[in-house]
């Protein structure tokens, strides 16, 4: 799975959780909670969706590692690899 695939999966699941977000406008360093306005339930739903889609079980302590698209791609790529 390439980094592009991972990024696409992340953005698709993000938009599924928060349907009003325009995927074209999500910046690499936009923060899930501070910039995109997700609440804790949305974050958990995103973590659950990524677990189901990529098979990566993200523990609570690692939630900051997926708080932006940029960080998430690095973190998920390492966990998938």
């Amino acid at each position: 799975m390439t980094e592009q695939d991972i990024r696409r999966a992340y953005i698709e699941e993000l938009v599924a959780v928060a349907p009003d977000i325009d995927p074209d406008t999500v910046g690499e360093t936009d923060h899930l909670q501070d910039d995109l306005g997700l609440d804790s339930m949305d974050v958990l739903n995103l973590v659950t969706a990524l677990h189901e889609r990529l098979g990566v079980d993200i523990p609570e302590a690692d939630y900051p590692q997926i708080a932006t698209a940029k960080r998430a791609v690095v973190y998920l790529a390492a966990r998938i690899g």
């Binding site: 959780v17 349907p19 325009d22 074209d24 909670q33």
Partner: protein
């Protein structure tokens, strides 16, 4: 035989627009089945049935805006003879408001529809929306229509920008949000946005609450470190789908407390308090576009923390997608409103009529705290109970808070 009517989804609702039928004549229906979807000021709500039987006739058309109480469908019990002429047997249906020429949410009007929204006079009333159909924001663009990102479509609708006049810079010439920035602000559009409608509904309900309910308030700051430590241990060994958030613990604790202090749980209607044996815990969900809804976790007093967590996840997902049910919107017996992990440390909330209490929870804060005679850092939350003085007084409110606190102190028992 029963008539399925437009329900009141809150004391301030006067009308709703039928946007979808989920049954057709001849279908068997049971109590609690969702028969239709109605667009209200609080978004799209799934309307449940209170009858058992078979759908004899659908009496309302999609796109019709109908007053509360207007007949939607005729339901005949099994074995009951179908009326020969249902139209003659029934009272005159309530008058329907003029229908839009194109039912908005159902039949996506192409974005290229020949409309001149910006030239409509500013004083045009909201109701006759015939003449400027607006495509629903979530519908895929029909073939031949303009390619527009969802956010740009919403923004253009809000600002009244004619998308045909906008030059898109996205893939294939798609119009993006930033392309709208170059557009001069047009004259205000007379049609209120869904956010405006929701704000009006909230304003009406909260004004009525403050004018009719003699609120009083009790507060206490509670050490939640033991609960958080218990949750962290529990979640460490759970896959994401089974993890529990602190909010579910708080709702569980409030439900247990509400089941023990009846003056906090029920409805005040027609001049009298009607306590409820069930606890339908309304959970305030902030909507991303602004506004909030408080659908209820039904029967929360009998649910485990895990059950409540699953129910809350389901409510949040459906609130985001505009798929809440009528019973969830009207049968809440107490509301829990939480500021989440970040934000102010306390909230004094307004009771949601006809309920008689609201639990306001501030964001968790790290504070110096005295434990066994020593000052230690602890994560605390401040609970503020808003209660109705027509129904209860300070003693009952204090009992509720004490009960909540003791539940949170021993989360494993929840």
């Amino acid at each position: 035989m029963g008539v399925f009517t437009m329900p009141s989804l809150g004391a301030d609702m006067e009308a709703g627009t039928l946007v979808e039928w989920l049954v057709k004549p001849g279908d068997e229906v049971h109590r609690g089945d969702v028969l239709a979807v109605v667009e209200t000021q609080k978004g799209a709500i799934e309307i449940e049935c209170f009858e058992e039987g078979r759908v004899q006739e659908l009496q309302a058309d999609i796109g019709a805006k109908l007053p509360v109480g207007a007949p939607l469908a005729l339901i005949v019990a099994d074995g009951e003879p179908a009326p020969q002429e249902p139209a003659a047997a029934e009272p005159e249906p309530a008058p329907q408001e003029p229908e839009p020429a194109e039912p908005e949410p159902v039949e996506p009007a192409p974005a290229i529809a020949p409309v001149q929204v910006t030239e409509a006079p500013a004083a045009v009333p909201v109701a006759p929306s015939a003449g400027f159909p607006v495509p629903p924001v979530t519908a895929p663009p029909p073939s031949g229509a303009l390619a527009v990102s969802p956010a740009a479509r919403v923004a253009a609708k809000e600002k009244g920008i004619d998308l045909r006049t906008v030059k898109g810079t996205g893939p294939g010439g798609a119009i993006l949000l930033k392309d709208l920035d170059a557009e001069p602000a047009p004259k205000p559009v007379p049609k209120a946005s869904p956010q405006d409608e929701m704000r009006k509904a909230i304003a009406a309900a909260m004004t009525r609450a403050k004018q009719t309910i003699p609120h009083f308030y009790l507060s206490e700051t509670i050490d939640i470190d033991p609960a958080l430590a218990w949750l962290a241990r529990r979640n460490e060994s759970s896959p994401p789908a089974e993890r529990v958030l602190p909010g579910a613990l708080f709702v569980r604790a409030a439900a247990v407390a509400a089941s023990k202090v009846s003056g906090m749980n029920g409805h005040f209607t027609d001049g009298a308090f009607r306590p409820s044996s069930r606890v339908n815990a309304g959970v305030a969900v902030a909507l991303r576009g602004g506004g909030l809804v408080a659908p209820a976790v039904m029967g929360a007093e009998a649910m485990s923390v895990d059950d409540i967590m699953q129910a809350m996840r389901d409510l949040v997902v459906r609130a985001r997608a505009g798929r809440l049910r009528s019973s969830e919107m009207t049968e809440g017996t107490i509301t829990i409103s939480s500021l989440g992990e970040s934000g102010a440390e306390a909230m004094t909330g307004v009771i949601f009529p006809p309920q008689v209490a609201l639990v306001g929870l501030g964001a968790p804060k790290l504070r110096p705290w005295v434990v066994d005679g020593a000052v230690v850092p602890r994560t605390v939350i401040t609970l503020t109970l808003s209660a109705d003085h027509r129904v209860s007084d300070g003693r009952q409110a204090a009992r509720f808070i004490a009960e909540f606190k003791s539940q949170i102190a021993s989360p494993e028992a929840l």
